[in-house]
């Protein structure tokens, strides 16, 4: 199996229909170009309407649905990853949309680069309650600046990477009551600490739906922050060039 496309659902209800349709389109596009793809849907503490939407969709590739009650997006992704059979995993949230070429283009880019990496679309178009275009930065860009990752997240959660990387670095959980949030930001830092790079797949785009009651919006209001891998920024003190992550310590 080349790719497991993971879609995480919660209580998106009708908003999940276009997401599932974009997933179907991307899966069909990749499959028509010779890739073997499966779909894993992880429904976490979902409601009846959302489950109905997922029941209505039909895929012409292997499809499995996990019913979870962990009530945590990061942990739900981890459960889906544990169930995945693909060498590569692509993540989608059930209110967002992938461009049709996403799976195929990300697979081609990832397969051509031997380095440990997480692949992101060139642009993420935010729509709904706010509109903007986020251009993802590539860590191979000469202007890339690792220190800036302390100030804001640099990549959305809808990445494409090897299943092994996601199993080695599981998603962190969220607990806004103790100020621990932004599971995607935390994971993006954790994989860098593991030695991976964040890369961009040219000519690809995702659409991210902005909702005032989304987890991201609630996290921002709570002033929470992700866990930072030990030494990630301390080791940059006094450095003149922040382009590369600090060298990893040799394993004992």
């Amino acid at each position: 199996m080349d790719i497991t496309a993971v879609i995480n659902g919660h209580r998106e209800q009708g908003l999940a229909r276009p997401s599932l349709a974009s997933l179907r389109a991307a899966v069909g596009y990749a499959r028509s170009r010779g890739l073997e793809v499966e779909v894993v849907a992880a429904l976490d503490c979902s409601d009846a309407l959302t489950r109905d939407v997922f029941r209505d969709v039909a895929f012409d590739v292997p499809y499995r649905q996990l019913e979870l009650d962990v009530d945590d997006l990061g942990e739900a992704r981890n459960r889906a990853v544990a169930a995945a059979r693909g060498r590569w995993i692509a993540l989608l949230d059930a209110d967002d949309l992938w461009s049709e070429n996403w799976l195929h283009a990300a697979f081609a880019a990832a397969s051509a680069d031997a380095r440990l990496a997480v692949w992101h679309p060139e642009v993420a178009v935010y729509f709904g309650e706010a509109e903007r275009v986020l251009t993802h930065v590539d860590m191979d860009d000469p202007d890339y600046d690792l220190a800036a990752l302390a100030v804001q997240n640099q990549w959305t959660a809808l990445g494409f990477c090897s299943a092994d990387l996601l199993r080695a670095v599981p998603y962190p959980t969220t607990n806004l009551s103790i100020g621990r949030g932004y599971e995607d930001w935390g994971w993006n830092m954790a994989v860098i600490a593991k030695g991976a790079r964040h890369k961009v797949v040219p000519d690809t785009g995702h659409m991210i739906r902005v909702r005032s009651n989304s987890l991201g919006s609630r996290t921002a209001r709570s002033r929470s922050h992700p866990a930072i891998p030990p030494g990630m920024f301390r080791t940059l003190v006094g450095a003149k060039d922040f382009g590369d992550p600090p060298p990893r310590k040799a394993a004992p």
Binding site: P18, L97, V133, N153, Q154, D203, M207, V237
Partner: protein
């Protein structure tokens, strides 16, 4: 009665431009965003013989939204940040003086054709997106690089580059006015290797600077190095303290009694307390050096 100096021709006659224009010219010239060759090539009414293309741009071109160079797109800039129109400012001058400090981009940062294609493709699947008409607004959607920009980003990078060692302790005060010498008179004895828990510290003095947008942070490290972080806007000073505590894995924070440290304690104190020892010291805004030393000794000696 003394004649006005302008009438006497002391400034070179009546054609001398006002001071703000002179400053605008220097600002634009030094920015690298005005390219005379590019400007001449796109303005048919001008030619190489034109004495001063930059003067032409400042006096005429900016009003007609002419592009000063490939690095700045005034039409996109004004459409993306429409609040600037009401100021009547030259958009390039506004960008250089204000916009870039607020994280504005000088031109569209994304490939509009790609974004249009993605939206068009998904609008077929999502009725709400189709109804939003977003596809028609592609040229003027606000753009942003995922790499942080703006005053907070600059202040953080400057601090990180300027420090010579990673601090374990942080002292935060407001408008204390301590200079490095006075601070070292106060806290210097704690650098003594014989002090029971001698760890590198960093002092952050949050300063208002008169204009809320021109606030600053003065950092003094235990090595004696003094770092001035200019133009850190009001809210960014508080966020900078949070980033320093979390990203530099500060073990102990001491907040000196003042409005901003109080806000910092209220906003972040409960979150820091899981990994960081937070102490709030009640007392005067600007404690005397001996008093500060006495407090810090009491707090840190028992660790």
């Amino acid at each position: 009665m003394t004649a006005p100096r302008r009438q006497l021709g002391l400034f070179g006659g009546k054609h001398r431009p006002p001071r703000s224009s002179v400053n605008d010219r220097a600002l634009v010239e030094s920015s690298g965003l005005f390219d005379a060759g590019y400007y001449l090539s796109r303005n048919d009414g001008l030619n190489d013989a034109e004495a001063d293309p930059l003067a032409h741009y400042l006096e005429t071109g900016a009003i007609s939204r002419a592009r000063p160079g490939p690095g700045f797109d005034p039409a996109w800039y004004l459409d993306t940040y429409p609040e600037i129109r009401s100021t009547g400012s030259n958009p390039l001058v506004y960008y250089l003086r204000t916009g870039r400090h607020r994280g504005h981009l000088p031109l569209r940062s994304y490939d509009a054709a790609l974004v249009r294609a993605v939206i068009a493709q998904q609008a077929v699947l999502d009725p709400a997106l189709a109804q939003s008409g977003m596809e028609a607004r592609v040229e003027t959607l606000p753009g942003q690089s995922s790499m942080a920009q703006g005053p907070l980003h600059r202040a953080w990078l400057t601090l990180l580059r300027s420090l010579d060692s990673s601090p374990d302790r942080l002292i935060v005060g407001e408008q204390t006015g301590y200079d490095a010498a006075r601070l070292h008179q106060a806290v210097g004895p704690l650098n003594d290797p014989l002090f029971p828990s001698n760890l590198p510290w960093l002092f952050l003095d949050l300063r208002a600077g008169g204009n809320r947008k021109r606030a600053a942070v003065r950092a003094v490290a235990s090595s004696g190095r003094e770092i001035m972080l200019e133009d850190v806007d009001s809210g960014s000073r508080i966020r900078l303290v949070n980033i320093v505590v979390r990203s530099l894995e500060i073990k102990e924070v001491v907040l000196l009694d003042a409005p901003l440290p109080r806000r910092i304690r209220k906003r972040y104190g409960k979150f820091w307390s899981h990994d960081t020892q937070v102490t709030f010291i009640r007392g005067p805004w600007v404690p005397r050096a001996e008093m500060l030393l006495s407090w810090l000794k009491r707090i840190w000696a028992r660790r």
